[in-house]
């Protein structure tokens, strides 16, 4: 993250733009906005070198509310625009704000390829499992059978799971959080901000109007500890209100076990730095209600970034040929003189 020279500590207020936030009351976007502002403020991010790029959808209004540079673009294309921004000026801190429809339906292709290239930007996907801005159709992350305006008999689409897609493209950083768990949202965003390369953060986000309580199982104070498991690097997968349950491998399948009967030594030890994304993928396939859903950092590995490789080739060409001179370029190849 860019921090300017001798930047005094910033406050959340300094990251708020002069625009009125126009999301619905109760929308999870409010929380995510605030947490990201807190993360940037506490990290003393340089607002003048920070760029937020978004596509279309409720979440994509985000850049208007940040006092940074911002680009509210067209549906699904934010990763491509952000790639151009980053390549033109690798010193900028580039964030992509997107939603489940924007990132995984109309813009799926750009998400895949941005991840594959490991462009140095952070993609924050607000997943509310519904189309909000167009007023309530099922989205690519809606559960099979979801009844909406465009699927009154139930959706016959099978849902896509964002973290597995990111892992399939060999993402170098991928994490998941849930909007109301503010401390944890800040944690994963801070981790994402510090990552070099593409960071992909899925945030379960409540749509109060069209898909209220979609994540009730994960937010209800009484039950949430039985339905989510926090991933911590180097630690066993333990969950439950009394931290009395764990997850171990049974053959090729994760299995929920009672810690009264099974030793913690037999549980899966989370390794976010594993060279192969296989185990992370297995964890990302754990879905409610069969399993507790993992929150936290699934994977965090190092790999050269796209912009570094691009600039590296330019530097190598300059090393070899010297900085380009037009006069020489014009006369390259076979030339002849006319007197």
């Amino acid at each position: 993250m860019s921090t300017g020279p001798n930047v005094p500590p910033l406050t959340v207020r300094e990251f708020k733009s002069d625009q009125n936030v126009r999301w619905c009351a109760g929308c999870g976007d409010h929380s995510i906005l605030l947490q990201l502002q807190k993360v940037l403020a506490s990290a003393c991010a340089d607002r003048d070198r920070t760029v937020f790029v978004s596509g279309i959808g409720c979440s994509s209004r985000f850049p208007y509310y940040m006092d940074t540079y911002g680009f509210h673009s067209i549906h699904g294309r934010a990763p491509a625009i952000a790639t151009g921004v980053k390549c033109a000026n690798p010193d900028l801190d580039v964030w992509v704000i997107t939603g489940d429809g924007d990132a995984l339906s109309i813009g799926g292709n750009h998400v895949l390829h941005t991840i594959r290239r490991n462009v140095g930007l952070r993609m924050v996907l607000f997943n509310n499992r519904v189309y909000g801005l167009t007023k309530g159709q099922y989205s690519p992350t809606s559960d099979f059978g979801t009844r909406t305006k465009s699927s009154p008999q139930g959706s016959i689409d099978h849902p896509v799971h964002p973290v597995t897609v990111a892992l399939g493209m060999e993402i170098t950083f991928v994490a998941r959080a849930i909007d109301v768990d503010v401390e944890h949202v800040q944690y994963v965003l801070r981790r994402a901000a510090a990552h070099k390369g593409t960071a992909f953060v899925e945030i379960y986000q409540n749509c109060q109007v069209y898909n209220a309580n979609a994540y009730g199982w994960a937010t209800d104070r009484q039950t949430k500890h039985d339905h989510v498991v926090y991933l911590e690097h180097g630690k066993p997968l333990i969950f439950g209100r009394n931290r009395d349950k764990g997850i171990r491998m049974n053959g090729e399948t994760p299995e929920v076990v009672d810690l009264a009967k099974v030793s913690a030594d037999d549980l899966i030890i989370h390794n976010e730095k594993a060279a192969e994304p296989t185990m992370a993928y297995l964890l990302a396939r754990m879905h409610h209600p069969e399993y507790p859903e993992p929150l936290g950092v699934f994977r965090a590995v190092d790999k050269p970034t796209y912009e570094d490789l691009m600039m590296g080739q330019i530097a190598a060409a300059r090393e070899k040929d010297g900085p380009g001179r037009l006069e020489a370029l014009f006369r390259a190849g076979e030339t002849w003189e006319v007197k």
């Binding site: 151009g84 980053k86 033109a88 691009m310 006319v338």
Partner: protein, 627 residues
């Protein structure tokens, strides 16, 4: 053959025992199977002729398939070169000499050989099987059907194998040198030196000395065969042309576009960000630009056409010169994003190397049917400047001009080329020092006065780039409030912003030259063209005027905005003939803009106009062709 000079000479050449006839101009074509290397020897002949000082214009014609079944008419690849001691604008309608490497090549190309022209065929390829593949019922070399031509039936394959037998190459690799044998023969026929091609072979095959040696031997053997074989009784010479003094280099349109983009970015003192998705016939621009990295050229091969366009918009936002290149179907995919560039008023250039459409259409063939798409193909009131290059070398100037206008007016600029000029080549004069003015770029820095959508006297908003202290602002595709750039749904504001965007593009007319007229300022007939049809139309009008016909020519480069004086020029002529490789798209524009009646000459055959087609049309309109 060609145009024989008044002082036709049949002297004894110093190096050859055979007489040489001097020509003003000649056109030749190499034709063979797509695997026969015809494009390669064609471009070698071009380079040699250019270095010799001829005016040259070329046209390759190759199949869409990488390897159509060998020996079939679908797999025929051709390369035509027109070389001259006078000014020329086209590769020539028909050819004076044809090399046909197999029966299919003969079948496809014979109609374009002038009567009495030189026809060289590789007799080794005229086997029963190949004749059948080319759908010849009988061997045309034996039926007498070629009696109107000077036929040279040469066992090119056998001769090549004999010439290269000591290089150690197997028969397959040895046989592949036959294109150089044919080239050597044509070099002898048209009195061209071998040095330039020998140098090229040495460089190209430096790592495979046996192949280099074989190609050299084949080339020299072909040359020697012309010199010694009794069947060749005469050779031809085309003297150097009188070009404007300077250093010249042969460029295809696509090479010139790539060079122009790099040059423009350098003139602006900016990195060039080229985002593109491979598509015929624009991919060479992408390839060429990857070789210019020492100029801080950042090449991004995107996952699709949309990403390519979006990435250049992002790059433009961040302060680079953003350019993308594509062809018709790709252009269609980019249109929504071009609208975003219009709305956010960011400078970038969209190159569309047009090909036959609609849909996938004719990928390797030329057409001018994307004019409406360029002008009108977006949602909303969405004006973008449109410029069309007129010839291969003009692509260079056009690319620089497009970037200059994009930056000066903060707008996407659409630059139209086409498959004909993209692959065709002509000499390009290297610009003199100081000939290309700097492209002035201004980025605001004063946070007190900065307003994202405030406009200067030309109606242009400031280009404030991320990283500038205190100029944080947000842009996007939603309608912007005038001056502040905040989101606005206000009805009057939308009307005002629509007008401001339109006026800004209209203002570009003040920055483009007035329309020039070739010929008289008024009269009976005005031929109008745009884009890659320049050469054919200009040549036809030149010839018609030499014949005393009352016809002038206007070639329009800027299609939006149109030159300020164009309407007045059109009204000075009794009839206006609009020639274009589509069904009347520019005609539609001229009628709508100026309320002038027009006559259209339309062609959509995947091929450029011939000079003859236009001359005939002029003749018909002016009361009968004179010849």
């Amino acid at each position: 053959m060609g145009t024989v000079t008044p002082a036709e000479q049949q002297d004894i050449d110093g190096q050859s025992a055979k007489p040489t006839r001097e020509l003003v101009q000649a056109a030749i074509r190499f034709a063979g199977d797509s695997g026969d290397g015809m494009q390669l020897v064609g471009s070698q002949f071009t380079a040699t002729s250019a270095v010799l000082g001829n005016e040259v214009a070329t046209f390759p014609d190759y199949p869409a398939e990488i390897r159509a079944p060998a020996g079939t008419v679908g797999g025929v690849s051709g390369y035509q070169i027109n070389f001259s001691s006078r000014h020329i604008h086209t590769p020539g309608d028909r050819v004076d000499a044809l090399v046909a490497m197999n029966p299919a090549a003969l079948k496809v190309n014979l109609a374009d050989l002038v009567e009495g022209g030189v026809l060289i065929v590789d007799t080794d390829e005229f086997t029963d099987a190949n004749l059948e593949r080319a759908k010849y019922a009988a061997n045309p070399l034996q039926t007498g059907e070629l009696s109107r031509y000077q036929v040279h039936a040469v066992p090119i394959t056998q001769q090549t194998l004999g010439a290269v037998k000591d290089t150690g190459l197997g028969p397959r690799d040895a046989g592949r040198c036959r294109n150089f044998y044919a080239l050597g023969l044509d070099y002898w026929l048209f009195d061209r030196p071998l040095e330039s091609t020998l140098r090229w072979i040495n460089g190209k095959f430096a790592k495979v000395p046996a192949v280099a040696s074989a190609n050299r031997l084949a080339l020299q053997a072909g040359y020697a065969f012309g010199d010694t074989a009794e069947a060749f009784t005469m050779r031809y010479r085309v003297k150097p042309a009188r070009l404007r003094p300077g250093t010249y280099r042969n460029l295809t349109g696509n090479q010139a576009l790539a060079l122009g983009c790099v040059t423009a970015a350098q003139l602006a003192g900016k990195p060039l960000f080229y985002g593109s998705y491979p598509i015929t016939p624009a991919s060479e621009i992408l390839h060429d630009l990857t070789t210019y990295k020492s100029f801080d050229v950042r090449v991004f091969q995107a996952e699709d056409e949309i990403a390519a366009m979006c990435a250049i918009i992002g790059a433009a936002f961040a302060g680079a010169i953003g350019v993308t290149g594509t062809s018709g179907p790709g252009m269609a995919l980019k249109q929504e994003a071009i609208g975003l560039a219009v709305m956010t008023e960011l400078p970038c250039v969209v190159i569309n190397v047009q090909r036959g459409g609609p849909s996938t259409g004719l990928p390797t063939k030329t057409e001018q049917s994307d004019l409406w798409q360029a002008l009108l193909g977006r949602n909303g009131e969405c004006p973008a400047p449109v410029l069309a290059a007129q010839s291969p070398a003009d692509c260079f100037r056009s690319a620089v001009e497009a970037v200059r206008i994009a930056v000066r007016y903060m707008t996407p600029v659409i630059l139209l080329s086409d498959g004909y000029i993209a692959n065709g080549a002509e000499p390009w004069r290297v610009p003199d020092d100081g000939e290309l003015p700097k492209i002035e770029v201004r980025h605001p820095t004063d946070a007190q006065t900065f307003r994202p959508y405030a406009r200067d006297e030309r109606g242009v908003r400031p280009w404030a780039i991320p990283g500038t202290p205190g100029l944080r602002h947000r842009i996007g595709g939603l309608e912007k409030a005038d001056v502040t750039g905040h989101i606005s749904y206000d009805p009057a504001n939308h009307q005002r912003m629509t007008a401001l965007r339109a006026q800004k593009v209209a203002n570009i007319a003040q920055d483009i030259p007035d329309q020039e007229v070739f010929g008289d300022r008024s009269g009976e007939l005005l031929a109008v063209s745009w884009g890659g049809t320049f050469g054919a139309v200009r040549t036809a009008v030149e010839r018609a005027r030499e014949d005393g016909q009352d016809v002038s020519h206007v070639h329009v480069r800027w299609l939006n905005p149109l030159p300020r004086n164009l309407g007045e020029i059109l009204k000075g002529f009794r009839r206006v003939l609009v020639c274009e490789l589509n069904m009347g798209q520019f005609e539609f524009l001229l009628r709508g803009q100026y309320l002038v009646p027009t006559i259209g000459l339309h062609k959509v055959q995947g091929r450029p106009f011939t000079v003859r087609e236009i001359q005939d049309q002029i003749g018909e309109l002016l009361g009968g062709a004179p010849q």
